[in-house]
Symmetry: C2
Subunit: 671 residues, 2 copies
């Protein structure tokens, strides 16, 4: 059995040798630049050396996974890894990427406190909340965020928890089970404080949804405070099982009025509600920025989901051999066009959405700086709307792609993809809720179409970031295929945006003319009109920004390959819109559709020798991917066998019982 | 807090009252007729009464889930529930349906022994294996099936385990780790016997892949026999975690030549290999029937996946209220067109694919009876090919739809869909491998296009079941919309079949003319040609057979609603093909595409008042669905809250440790 040492798989290094570019350069380009990459590698090494960060080869129980996350969180503090955005932005940014790639659960454990809780306190609180922020930053208190209620998720303005001003205090109540706060990460076991949203009542009048910070557990005993009931929501699939999502009920819970996050409003000493908001819309815009930040971050979940799918799927498919020409060896399955079709567009999406997100974060940081500096300009208002519109459709686009990518990668890895140690199902389950949180994708995308409709209605044809500049162009139908496929795709998208925008506008008007209210009219004009409009807007912007980023790359070879990657992303995104392009009359006859399809096949073929090296450039370290199928040494079979050998069985735990059944069956009379 | 008793959800009974048909009649129609339904209900009641069949509200560890499955298997034997197809076909058929709906893992535990092991022994063995079959039927031995190897799944002809005739015995060897038998359910802990496929060597000559039955564990001790190594493959996602999928290595394992399943071949006493096969193809056709049976069964997994998705998704969406007109109550989300789009096509797919599968099983049983009777006719050969072709594309179509349905249902249920107690992620993971086993979908679908290509090439324009009768028609492009939308859809599909068949044929010829071998040519002509051809063939047959079944329904009201359901299934299946219909010139301009899209919207609207009652007609009992969101009483919120209240938390298990960290942070100098 000496042949036991020979791998039945093909060599990854052989694939690597086919690439046309320098791997190190590509890696820096695709991982945020050399400085960021150096920091990332530093953090990766700290984690890899510590056995606590080794991923177990089995599903942990809820209790086990939460304890492990608690221990890992302590280690992160112990190592002084950067969790505070304001104290060390570069470090924070690099470490955030590392956490996102490593484990969504641990990332959430840290981010819900350091990012979401502190962020909301900072943006909605005032001087009187500074001390709490300081304590939170030093982890002397643990925060959580309570907005969603059992019966209100998307419609946050209708939440039903009340905070009533009574005798100089605020009294919190949950009027019925539907008002139970739910899904609050860190609440069930760790949190000492909660950021709570509730309807504020002063003098018997409802002043609408406000934010409050309240203590939920005793500082000394860590027991839940009187007037509150807190519990766990049970198990969830994937990494998020390690997050203690909690529920909370208020039973006449009293606290000081200091709990009110009073930026722009307050309760006076004599019990009156005062505010500086011009309108409800104005009040809501305070938190608009913070909400966009969450969504832009979640675009990164789509990037990471595609990254993991491409890493595991492509490496395994490069190694796995199956079938071959009648008189030849079996071929790596990645050489089959059908297998390339399943995986290369995922790789392209990860890279292009990553480049898009890098730029988006840059622009958003500049925007936030202007906002925090107190700037008040019409251009900033326009920018707010644009950031909101763009994040509302790119978050759905990226997360839908990411979850679909992991599902496809599992299937593309065949039966072995279904092993726990492939990690693909666990990853799919982990990324699954990204389609829902911070705005259910289908509902969120409506914000983008609403933005475009409103811009058009107001006759605003340009925008600060330039994403609506297509409004200045006249839509021209297809005249002939351009040598650069990207120009064809962009022209088609611009036409499609005009078409779906005009069609949605008209459909809305028709509905209103026939007596529908605005609410009904909007709901009836989503499918086939507003929805593809929002997606096309997201996709075109991603494609354009990715291409702009690639144009700026100095290294010729890297740039050349990435130009192809952008083109593959572009044609693969356009494919599902072909029907509308034909129905709407952008094109007739076979040429346009056939060209798009041929272009995608050709790009998948030409990128085939590059793809293993491209995966190396985006992949997380092996200990973080932790997939038997996706290690960088290409030893998928050996990894599986090592795990299998550790599970050799002689007798089942229930063997005696089984023998009893078998014996009994031997003596049982025949039926 | 008296309002705690008021549900924040809408009433399912109100939805039910809108339906136009009799629920009891519909239930019998959609669950295989009154007799079968009566048996199903009887078995359901036996299981529901036994606490062992209550589903736990948490993920079980691998050990726990396997023990539970072992115990449930014992109960199934104890209750004498019908597992033997030949002893009691009606009971077996009804109980199989119950098991499939209840738990795929338990179903597999039973089916792998009673169906797959016994079935293979029966079809490939002879008189000398009768005793083993008898023992297996009485559960005096436990069987498993070992075909797949670590490095060979799809390409089964290339497996590398060897069975060598030496000195009157057979010696089994695994020449390298790639030849390790893997994925064999029941092998790791329970099996006493295995159905093993290996390359047979007699007199130094390889006679190709043969089936053997070998004993793997000692009868008295249940220990693994010498010469074998057996182990577990570790955890899997979903229900299949309870199946002990095993691996096995042969280290000069010796046994009698009786192990050879010798139908049509044998090893003589003087050590010569003899056979009655005319060709390799002929030899393989022995098992063709059995393989089709597996696939036809798996179409049912697609049906059940859609059934579960529709049950949970539609019931929850009928209850869940969110948003509403400015001055009105919030509306059940199922009233929004976008939500209907997500769920109603799933309901339609479950119903139509179910009707298709009922007919397919009927026809297949007749086919098998003819085969077993020893009939040898040209028509039976044609029927074999047709059964193979049709099962090879309907299995992929159904399982892809099923898995996608569960993913969509989870997202359509929003955040609460992500709770373990919604079961949707677990169900998705459970059905996930149906896309891979008994033929990876993408590879399997090629068998269907190959069948159609070969029929056309041979000029055979009709088939025993009539599925290729489209070959007799002349493809006519779209002339105008017919009043009955189904006629439009069928005409478009028939055109599409001609188009993709001709295109695939031409592409293959082009490839061969340019010097490609047949293998390469086939691989290069899948995407955009052979693949959509196979899918269109599956979909059109499903649509036609579902419509035929509906036409035979006596009850006017049920028939009328189901006619609409078939039409919804038809237009929703056709939508992804619109691009090819335009590229190929079936239609030009907006009419055809717009009509298809409008028709789908209109059908979703008209079926909206029927859908909750339709779900009742296909749903499994509440204890089997076991989803907090999908109970038939519509008390989704109450179910969630009951689970949450059972998880009330005062202090975390790691509270003391957490307090220590917090204390330490208080005294730590500021960074």
């Amino acid at each position: 059995m000496s042949a036991f040492n020979a791998s039945p798989g093909a060599s990854l290094d052989e694939w690597r040798s086919k690439a046309s570019f320098d791997g190190g350069k590509m890696r820096a380009i695709l991982q945020g630049g050399e400085d960021k990459l150096r920091l990332k590698d530093e953090y990766w090494q700290i984690m890899e050396k510590d056995p606590l960060f080794k991923k177990p080869n089995r599903h942990l129980s809820m209790e086990e996974s939460r304890l492990l996350t608690h221990q890992r969180w302590k280690k992160v503090l112990e190592y002084g890894l950067p969790c505070d955005m304001y104290a060390n932005y570069e470090g924070f940014s690099a470490f955030s990427d590392v956490l996102e790639e490593y484990d969504k659960g641990l990332q959430a454990r840290i981010q819900l406190h350091s990012g979401v809780f502190v962020g909301a306190l900072s943006s909605m609180g005032t001087e009187r909340h500074k001390e709490l922020i300081e304590k939170a930053n030093r982890n002397q208190i643990i925060g959580c965020f309570c907005l969603t209620e059992l019966s209100h998720g998307s419609n946050t303005q209708a939440i039903q928890t009340t905070a009533t001003y009574e005798k100089g205090q605020l009294v919190f109540r949950s009027p019925h089970i539907g008002a139970m706060k739910v899904w609050s990460g860190n609440l069930a076991q760790s949190a000492t404080h909660a950021l709570v949203f509730a309807q504020l009542y002063v003098g018997g009048k409802c002043e609408g949804v406000h934010g409050f910070v309240v203590q939920v557990r005793d500082e000394k005993t860590h027991r839940v405070l009187p007037g509150l009931r807190i519990g766990d929501m049970g198990e969830k699939p994937g990494h998020f099982n390690c997050i203690e999502n909690g529920w909370m009920l208020f039973e006449d819970y009293r606290c000081s009025t200091d709990a009110l996050l009073n930026k722009g409003c307050d309760i006076t000493a004599d019990g009156r509600y005062v505010h500086a908001f011009k309108s409800d819309r104005d009040k809501r815009s305070v938190s608009l920025g913070a909400l966009s930040m969450g969504r832009i971050g979640i675009v990164g979940m789509g990037v990471n989901a595609c990254r993991a799918a491409a890493t595991i799927g492509i490496r395994y498919s490069a190694v796995r051999k199956q079938f071959g020409p009648p008189d030849g060896d079996e071929l790596p399955i990645l050489t089959y066009p059908l297998q390339r079709r399943r995986l290369l567009p995922i790789l392209a999406a990860s890279i292009c959405m990553g480049l898009f997100q890098d730029k988006m974060i840059d622009l958003f940081s500049q925007y936030m700086a202007r906002l925090l500096s107190g700037e008040k300009s019409d251009e900033l208002v326009e920018l707010s709307k644009e950031v909101h519109g763009l994040s509302s459709c790119t978050k759905p686009r990226a997360t839908w792609l990411g979850v679909a990518a992991l599902a496809e990668a599992r299937a593309a890895c065949g039966g072995h993809g279904f092993l726990y140690i492939s990690r693909l199902n666990e990853l799919r389950d982990t990324y699954d809720p990204s389609q829902t949180f911070e705005g259910e994708n289908n509902i969120l995308a409506q914000q983008a179409s609403n933005y475009l409709l409103s811009q058009k209605k107001q006759g605003i044809v340009s925008s600060p970031m330039g994403t609506t500049d297509f409004l200045q162009t006249r839509p021209i139908s297809f005249k002939g295929w351009n040598a650069d496929s990207l120009e064809n795709v962009i022209a088609a998208y611009e036409w499609l945006l005009h078409y779906t925008l005009t069609k949605t506008e008209k459909a809305l008007e028709d509905r209103k003319r026939r007596g529908d209210d605005a609410f009904t009219a909007r709901n009836e004009t989503q499918i086939d009109t507003a929805h593809p409009l929002a997606l096309a807007y997201a996709e075109l912007t991603m494609i354009k920004w990715a291409e702009e980023a690639v144009k700026e790359i100095e290294d010729v070879k890297c740039r050349s390959v990435l130009h192809q990657v952008v083109r593959l992303f572009a044609v693969s995104q356009l494919q599902p819109h072909l029907t509308l392009l034909y129905i709407g009359g952008y094109c007739t006859g076979p040429e346009f559709g056939t060209r798009v399809k041929e272009e995608q096949l050709a790009l998948e073929r030409s990128l085939s020798p590059e793809c293993v090296a491209l995966v190396d450039a985006i992949a997380s370290p092996d200990f973080a991917v932790a997939s038997a199928l996706g290690t960088s040494d290409g030893r998928a079979y050996e990894n599986m066998v090592a795990d299998f050998f550790s599970r050799e069985v002689d007798r089942a735990p229930f063997a005696d019982d089984l023998l009893r059944v078998i014996e009994a069956n031997k003596t049982k009379p025949k039926l």
